[in-house]
Amino acid sequence: MIQIATDISFGLLGLGMLLTLIRIVRGPTLGDRILGLETLSILSIGLIGSYAARSGLTLYVDIAISLALLSLLPTAALVRYLASARAVK
């Protein structure tokens, strides 16, 4: 039963990643692309989590936690670049 549920969950999250990729490609400003990157990392946390629920390997929970901790880092770095783009504009 958890197999079918995680199959559906993989489908939903994969569709979400596809929509996020469309926004990253189309996104009119740099902020939209940064937000898309962050959404992509959160969706991949959900993907790793549902694989942990499927396989019962709790090692993947630790991987998801560390990805959640690291998801702030590229956003902070790119926002720093965005703040410096004010001088370029």
Binding site: A5, T29, L35, T39, G49, L72
Partner: protein, 108 residues
């Protein structure tokens, strides 16, 4: 407990899809932040809750609670950082969202 885990994982992934749909469909960076910064961590947190419900180990439940806490702390921080920098730098899309309560003279 398996039923609860299945329902929580399904609801969580549906929230993840809704976050991505809001990111695609909303007209502006700030409305997109409104969609993804709330629905995304909620979906991932519900999936963590589903793992905690599915496994009988209390240590796994503690780790899942830790993951939820990290998500709930870090996602508003990064959303606020992005929104504030966009407003301060004047890089927002023209006049879709009206912003009236930002004091631009204070720059920390």
């Amino acid at each position: 407990m398996t039923i609860i885990a299945v329902v929580l994982v399904l609801i969580g992934s549906a929230f993840g899809l809704l976050a991505a749909l809001g990111l695609l469909r909303f007209p502006d960076l700030f409305t997109r932040l409104h969609a993804t910064a709330k629905a995304g961590p909620l979906g991932a947190g519900l999936i963590f809750l589903g793992i905690a419900a599915g496994s009988a180990d209390p240590l796994v439940a503690v780790r899942c609670a830790l993951g939820i806490v990290f998500l709930m702390i870090l996602s508003p921080i990064s959303a606020h950082l992005l929104a504030r920098t966009t407003v301060r730098a004047g890089l927002s899309a023209p006049n879709i969202t009206s912003i009236k309560n930002i004091d631009n003279s204070r720059r920390h």
